[in-house]
């Protein structure tokens, strides 16, 4: 296989990506660019702001997140100072082993990494009554979900207590894809649209996912290159791969990813399209893209020879449909869930 870096064409490639080999520098640049894009587009790291960063679980993703933020704060090669300036507070919820935690070891590891970068570190304690209740849950899937919920709530409360409005979390594209599959299997699909977004508002706190475009492999490789993988404490090996629906979904996603490297990002992008938009209906031609209806809607695809308007999406409109009005109606009836009669014209446009 070609070993020269496909980007700079000079250095030896040491990291394999779907776009070819990459040298260390080019790979790190790609990683930083992805994270900075998420941070800036979603206003997650405003100038001189304070942001909280979750170090749960104490994994390579959490370690990599701290490393990336440290890199963001450093000046570039041609600059005297970094464009980004924010204060980082690392939060860690110490969980016992029964609640998929790593106990004291995980906390110490994340604390030492935070100190290495000069970040403030705050430990978050779960209430004893909550810990006892969670330990009493027998079903592993229920326990996983409720622990996640408890950790999230605790982190959000602490973020507010620290007078911060942003909480960055470390799940990568693979983690989120597994989450989407697991939630679908468990019938908790209502939460999916929020879970797959780069940022979501929850209880007045903006939760950001800077690694949403990067797979677990990519993040692990980055943490190895930045030499922070030694700070990761894995809790994965306490459960067997078939112990819960989440673990089974993980196995499924990873096996698919072996065959199709873009699996995780494809799952997330598809899941992100799930939404309840009352002002939209499916394009009758492709039945996959939304067409807005109502005032100010995208009214395209007026069928020839017919006074009715059959909305087609912008993509299908540009195709040479070469159809008569009757054929479009047949297509609409064949594909679309909403019939032509349900689509009401705006009265101003009728005139």
């Amino acid at each position: 296989m070609e070993r020269k870096c496909g980007k700079c064409k000079t250095e030896e490639g040491i990291v394999w990506t779907t776009d070819g080999a990459r040298c260390e520098d080019c790979f790190c640049v790609v990683t930083m660019h992805s994270v900075k894009t998420i941070l800036s587009r979603n206003k997650l790291a405003m100038f001189k702001s304070r942001i909280c960063v979750s170090s749960n679980p104490p994994s390579t993703s959490s370690a990599a997140l701290m490393a990336v933020l440290d890199e963001c704060l450093k000046p570039g090669p041609k600059r005297k100072a970094s464009r980004m300036s924010f204060e980082v507070i690392v939060l860690h919820v110490r969980l016992p082993m029964e609640l998929f935690g790593s106990g004291e070891k995980g906390k110490e590891s994340m604390e030492s990494l935070a100190k290495l970068y000069g970040f403030q570190f705050q430990e978050v304690q779960l209430e004893e009554s909550i810990v006892t209740s969670l330990k009493a849950i027998r079903d592993l899937d229920d326990r996983i979900d409720l622990v996640q919920g408890a950790v999230r709530s605790s982190l959000i409360q602490k973020t507010k207590a620290m007078e911060c409005s942003v909480l960055l979390v470390s799940p990568n594209a693979t983690d989120l894809a597994v989450d989407v599959m697991a939630k679908t299997i468990k019938g908790r699909g209502g939460a999916i649209p929020d879970e797959v977004s780069p940022a979501m508002e929850y209880a007045s706190v903006k939760i950001g996912r800077p690694f949403i475009e990067l797979t677990a492999r990519h993040v692990t490789r980055y943490s190895r290159l930045r030499k922070v993988d030694k700070y990761a404490v894995s809790t994965e090996f306490f459960n067997s791969p078939d112990s819960s629906l989440t673990r089974i979904a993980e196995k499924f996603v990873l096996q698919l990813q072996e065959m199709q490297p873009s699996t995780s990002t494809t799952v997330l992008r598809t899941a992100a399209k799930l939404r309840k938009n009352e002002a939209a209906m499916l394009c009758p031609a492709c039945a996959s893209r939304d067409v807005l209806i109502g005032r100010g809607a995208d009214r395209v695809g007026r069928s020839r020879g017919s006074e009715d308007t059959h909305p087609l999406c912008a993509v299908c409109t540009e195709k040479d449909m070469n159809m008569s009005g009757e054929t479009v109606v047949d297509l609409a009836r064949a594909f679309c869930r909403a019939t032509v009669n349900e689509f009401t014209l705006d009265t101003e446009e009728q005139e």
Binding site: A232, S234, P241, E250
Partner: protein
């Protein structure tokens, strides 16, 4: 026998008694695929399925040959040389 260095991280070290780095003598003319089978048979005492499925590494485990992704070195067909450092890193971390 060929002398290689094996590294385990990301939780895989738990399968080899917590050891992150091992210097091992392996049979001559062994490929990386053969090494995976050898590790499964000789170093891992339990929960073999967390490391490999036969001679195939478990999905989610990153393999590096002298800090280079194994895809760039031929994956399982890579022939081990004395002094090679083979790293196995789990990208799965639970939580």
């Amino acid at each position: 026998m060929t002398s290689v260095v094996l590294e385990f991280s990301g939780g895989l070290e738990l399968l080899v008694d917590g050891k992150k780095r091992l210097e091992q003598e392996v049979p001559d003319k062994l490929t990386l695929g053969g090494l995976i089978g050898w590790i499964r048979s000789n170093l891992i005492k339990e929960r073999h399925e967390l490391f490999s499925q036969g001679q195939r590494i478990r999905p989610g485990v990153l393999v590096l040959i002298n800090d280079v992704d194994w895809e760039l070195e031929g994956k399982e067909t890579y022939n081990l040389s004395s002094g090679d450092c083979i790293s196995f890193i789990s990208t799965l971390h639970g939580g």
